[in-house]
Symmetry: C2
Subunit: 421 residues, 2 copies
């Protein structure tokens, strides 16, 4: 069954890859409009998903994530209009050169092909991913969570009707309309038709894809993020930055997990950090040296600090917990970060250009920062527009994957009946 | 066992990724020199491999491929010196921008990491791959064929001694010194330490890697290459070009497999093609329309033409066989090529700019050509230097993978205690 889906997606991709920017934007505009005007079928389907979710005892947080209403549909349409406003990367010529033999050579940017996306609860992902794929000339095979299957079916139906009306192939957006988990496995083997698998979900989904896929998988979406405060940092400015990285949105992958502090400033600075963040409900897992420097804290605040366990510096907290560790120098900060980071986002706070350079060069993460919050690792923050994923693997793309990261290139050689000598 | 190898390679990569171009080039120079002066241990080991190969009944062609002598070692050293002369891609800053909030953002080119290479007979691959990896700051885990294990051991020993003498970590070049096939499977699961798998060998090796790897695999190295001669082509110039693509080196992946001819010129041109290539020993598999246009050939030459079987247009010939097919127009030529090509190299011969544009835009291959031989798809021909592979998958790199394709990037954000709003 999925083989047919793969074939159809591949054929649709061929057509879509040749569509003009105007055609693609027109279809996306029409979709945005219908998301705001043809809301009834979507909200009806969504209400069924929510009702079933309640029956199956989903948590209030999960139910909230899967719930749509006119305001949320309006939000999805607004993001879509942002995608429309971004430049179309397809067709760009680059690295043009003429070889000594006169052969003209360049690279031309082309869509990746067929993208398999496996995701969980939130139905907005259906529209986000489909619209980014369409804008960049790709076909997609969508596999959403079973909790939102009726909503997704309605949304994909809307996308299909728009594509058909706009003269683009509806088969460019394929939807696996079944909760059968064996179909995920089948999708991961469709290497003849699918070029890339993007999982969006927890670590176990990423692991499952990596272990079972015959198609390259973009893993990511998890981060154990570090900030290292070196001995030259502006400590006044450091406090709100650390707070921003930790508490602005603790449940996401670019939020702060471990604070490393140079030993020279630990005794003076660490108590201030703990007092500053305690007001926001942060609790702490401290290594022995950090515990030492926190001995004099008033007992109410000190109660928020517990000794770090053996796994704590390898934990993505996703919550208001912060690891604290004193390091004796930059070497130890870099070594600790490279060992425990998952390669997402890590920052140094420093007034020392040499230290900053070493951090930038030696930290092996998708995004490295100097005097900036780890929270910036995001397609919109980077000015790229919406992202389909944040990659922490090294091939093809690292960090936010937006429109351009959904493309590849072909080599074009133009000659005058050139033959190889 | 391989886990330790992976860990060591990862640590060595960290060190090598920080090495300067001067350091890396100095080590490669020293290696080139020793390949020419310390030949005895290598030739002794190679003689043992050759003797065992004879005992096991390897074909003369295979024995020739694995044989080294001072001239061949000199050749390997010369290629190495070419690699030294190429620019080091590591450290390049690109896509620099300052965001509206003042955060300075750029990408910095960094090595890919640890590269697993699985290859067959030829021992020169050991030096080629190791030197390209070292020049671009990567560590490698090498798994060569069992037929050359003693030669490879000697070559890797030489590389290790050079690295140690030059103050670079010998652990950056790991060598799986055992013919045990289960170790290949183990390598393919080492996703914590290995970033990319490059198989160099036949289709079955590529398939095995794709089916068993938990690490992204660069598949490639096979091609069913097409030339389409349209009705406007310069037929005089077409003949030597077709000959070049077919016979210059028929056993490689960028050689011509199928010639497509526009129906308007078939009757006049096809007999000339067959007569022209018959002198070089080419034989032909022709579709019914081609057969038709070849009826009047003199019998001696006509004997070289047999009707194409059902699989013939899906066969990479690797020999002096050429498929012939008449197509009614450009649409059919494009459709046939996209269906049967393996996405390697496909060329149109045409004086019509509109046809050439459509070919370039619609043919979905790593390299598309206008009025040029398919044989140009090659790192050296493209001016990139030696290649580690020719990719026919779509992620990360398509076509020749040389030094730059062995790198990725990190994002660098430099702020003044920037926090996300």
């Amino acid at each position: 069954m999925l083989v047919d889906m793969g074939k159809q997606a591949r054929l649709a991709f061929r057509i879509l890859s040749q569509a003009t920017t105007v055609q693609k934007n027109k279809a996306l505009s029409s979709l945005a409009e219908r998301l705001e005007t043809q809301v009834e079928p979507i909200l009806t389907a969504n209400a069924q998903d929510v009702a079933e979710g309640q029956k199956f005892g989903l948590t209030p947080a999960l139910l909230d994530r899967l719930t749509l209403n006119p305001a949320r549909l309006h939000g999805i349409a607004s993001e879509l209009r942002q995608t429309i406003s971004l430049p179309d990367p397809v067709g760009e010529k680059f690295e043009e050169t003429t070889l000594p033999n006169g052969l003209q050579l360049y690279k031309q940017r082309v869509p990746l092909g067929v993208i398999g996306v496996i995701y969980e609860a939130r139905p907005n992902v259906t529209v986000d991913v489909a619209s980014l794929a369409l804008k960049s000339g790709n076909a997609v095979i969508l596999r959403g969570g079973s909790e939102t299957i009726q909503t997704n079916r309605a949304l994909v139906g809307l996308i299909h009707s728009v594509l058909a009306d706009e003269g683009l192939p509806p088969e460019a957006v394929q939807f696996i309309d079944s909760p059968d988990r064996s179909l995920v496995l089948e999708l991961l083997k469709l290497h003849q038709y699918v070029d890339i698998i993007i999982p969006r979900g927890g670590a176990s989904l990423h692991q499952f894809c990596r272990e079972n896929s015959q198609i390259p998988v973009i893993t990511g979406g998890t981060g154990i993020c570090h900030i290292f405060v070196d001995e030259s940092a502006d400590l006044e400015a450091a406090l709100p930055l650390i707070r921003n990285a930790k508490i602005q949105r603790p449940s996401v992958c670019n939020s702060l997990d471990t604070l490393l502090i140079h030993s020279v400033i630990a005794a003076g600075f660490l108590p201030r950090v703990v007092e500053y963040l305690a007001k926001d409900g942060v609790s702490f897992r401290a290594d022995p040296a950090s515990l030492d420097s926190l001995k004099a804290l008033n007992p109410a605040v000190r109660g928020l600090v517990t000794p770090a366990g053996p796994e704590d510096f390898d934990t993505e907290w996703m919550s208001l917990v912060l690891g604290l560790k004193v390091v004796k120098d930059l070497d130890e900060a870099i070594a600790h970060t490279n060992e425990h980071s998952l390669g997402h986002s890590d920052s140094i706070l420093s007034a020392d250009a040499g230290n900053a350079d070493r951090w930038v060069n030696e930290i092996d993460s998708a995004a490295v920062y100097v005097n900036a919050s780890t929270r910036f690792t995001d397609g919109n923050q980077f000015g790229l527009g919406a992202e389909v994923a944040i990659s922490t693997q090294r091939l093809h793309a690292r960090g936010p994957m937006a429109l351009r990261e959904l493309t590849t290139y072909k080599w074009v050689g133009v000659g005058h009946y050139h033959i190889r000598q």
